[in-house]
């Protein structure tokens, strides 16, 4: 007869487990039923479920029932388990709608590709008894990069000259990581602010969550390049700036610089791309890179290499000035 949760916990844990003792699952298909206190058994491991993962946005918690925060009982370490959940949804980006899919197979394949590469979240995939591809992920010990930058308690000018050179250097490394995926025929699929983390101990940047995919034919990496542009804008500006933010920044509409529609992003029309207008110490070369993502652009980056070939010289020039 198979073991109960209590028997498994007695076998692995020296301390008594005081929480709910649920069921043992070897088939994870019905992930909504699996909850804290259950144990998942697959591959060579036993995983005690602690709770469902939640995504926090604007103070609201959105549970992700297919992602379980767990303890790997063999090692005692924390793990995130992503169970199989197929989803097709429409991503609204400005006026554009993009049909996206969630693909466990894609994420499992990328985890194999980037094994040992600290620029990406680490983990492996394994199948449960029904052949569901479970991704077993190490927990990234750190914070979202954008949150870390936002909380730096300095004005923009100080941030720009004190922190940004190092941040930009590391960001270029993160872009090179995405170029590596593309060179291997893979895309990240969901490059946005909450998917680039900063490890607390090393300060290194780590990409997470590769399970989104989409069916673009002529420009398969366009969405990734667009995502990198948005991140660069946030990093350089220490935030995004809407028309109202700009007025607040200058304290008076009459004192604010003349901003035209072409100065804003092409897709998100309320985010200023032409940061040089509000922060004139931003070098023109760096601003030029940002302007490739603006409504006024006539040439776009099609590849990360093109983007980097303009961005790298900005950092070099900066280094020479300092």
């Amino acid at each position: 007869m198979s073991e109960t949760v209590k028997q498994i916990l007695d076998r692995f844990q020296s301390d008594p487990y005081m929480g709910r003792q649920g069921k043992v699952y070897t088939d994870t298909s019905d992930f909504m039923r699996i909850t804290g206190g259950d144990v998942l058994v697959f591959g060579d491991g036993h995983y005690l479920v602690l709770r469902d993962e939640v995504e926090r946005s604007y103070g609201v918690e959105d549970p992700k029932y297919w992602v379980k925060r767990c303890r790997h009982l063999e090692s005692g370490e924390r793990r995130l388990l992503k169970l199989v959940f197929y989803e097709k949804f429409i991503l609204q980006m400005g006026d554009i709608k993009v049909t996206c899919y969630r693909s466990p197979r894609k994420e499992a394949r990328i985890l194999g590709l980037v094994r040992g590469d600290s620029r990406f979240m680490q983990g492996f995939s394994a199948e449960d008894e029904k052949g569901n591809t479970i991704r077993v992920l190490d927990v990234v010990m750190g914070k979202r990069l954008d949150n870390w930058i936002y909380k730096l308690d300095v004005d923009h000018k100080t941030y720009f000259f004190t922190y940004l050179p190092k941040i930009l250097e590391k960001f270029i490394g993160a872009c090179e990581a995405i170029a590596y995926l593309h060179a291997n025929g893979e895309k990240h699929g969901d490059i946005r602010r909450d998917h680039l983390w900063r490890e607390t101990q090393t300060g290194d940047y780590v990409w997470i969550d590769f399970d989104y995919t989409f069916d673009f034919h002529e420009n398969p990496f366009g969405l990734d390049v667009f995502g990198l542009g948005g991140l660069l804008l946030y990093i350089v500006g220490k935030g995004f700036y809407s028309r109202n933010d700009i007025i607040s920044l200058f304290g008076d509409e009459n004192k604010a610089p003349d901003i035209e529609p072409k100065d804003f992003l092409l897709v998100f029309k309320n985010r200023l791309a032409n940061l040089h207008k509000i922060f004139p110490y931003i070098p023109k070369e760096l601003n030029w890179v940002l302007m490739h993502f603006s409504a006024g652009a006539s040439v776009y980056y099609e590849t990360v290499d093109e983007f980097l070939s303009d961005l790298r010289p900005c950092l070099k020039k900066w280094g020479k000035k300092q």
Partner: protein, 163 residues
């Protein structure tokens, strides 16, 4: 470059059907023109399917749909009075196709426009015709535009864009 050879790139859409109609209408009274209907295969992304079988089924369905489209459009050209023997079809398979064939040339999936231009150059087409759906600037940035790339990258040929 052979000015009597016209390459019409089709993707199974209404826009590409319009491009075929336009070419047939232009060429109907002229002799000595060869028309080739070209399709660069773009299979559904395998990652959006739960398993290989489901993906293969979708690939077979895609291929059948395009082959039927090619056949219908070939007939449509004939209906304009253009001899069938002057109309050809070319289906360039994806290199990632699961349908176990070994074509002499396949599409690697990085750019449909480059694949079309490769065929045009290799087979000396004088004219490349493509339908255009009309995309916004932002859509072009994110999704790319086959017709724009052909306009910018095409060499030694005339490009007709039918909108």
């Amino acid at each position: 470059m052979d000015t009597n050879k016209i390459l019409v790139a089709i993707d199974g859409s209404e826009n590409s059907k319009r491009a075929v109609e336009y070419v047939a209408d232009i060429v109907k009274g002229c002799r000595d023109f060869d028309i080739t209907l070209l399709h660069i295969e773009r299979l559904p992304d395998r990652d959006i399917f739960a398993d290989e079988d489901a993906w293969k089924k979708a690939c077979v369905a895609h291929r059948q749909k395009i082959e039927s489209f090619l056949s219908d459009n070939k007939q449509m050209i004939a209906d304009y009075g253009i001899p069938q023997k002057r109309v050809y079809t070319d289906y360039v398979e994806s290199c990632h196709s699961p349908l176990e064939e070994e074509p002499s040339y396949c599409s690697r999936g990085t750019s449909i426009a480059q694949d079309i231009l490769h065929v045009a150059e290799k087979e000396h087409f004088g004219t490349v015709v493509i339908g255009r759906r009309g995309v916004s600037k932002a859509e072009e940035f994110m999704f790319g535009s086959v017709s724009n790339k052909i306009i910018h990258s095409g060499k030694d040929c005339t490009v007709w864009v039918v909108q």
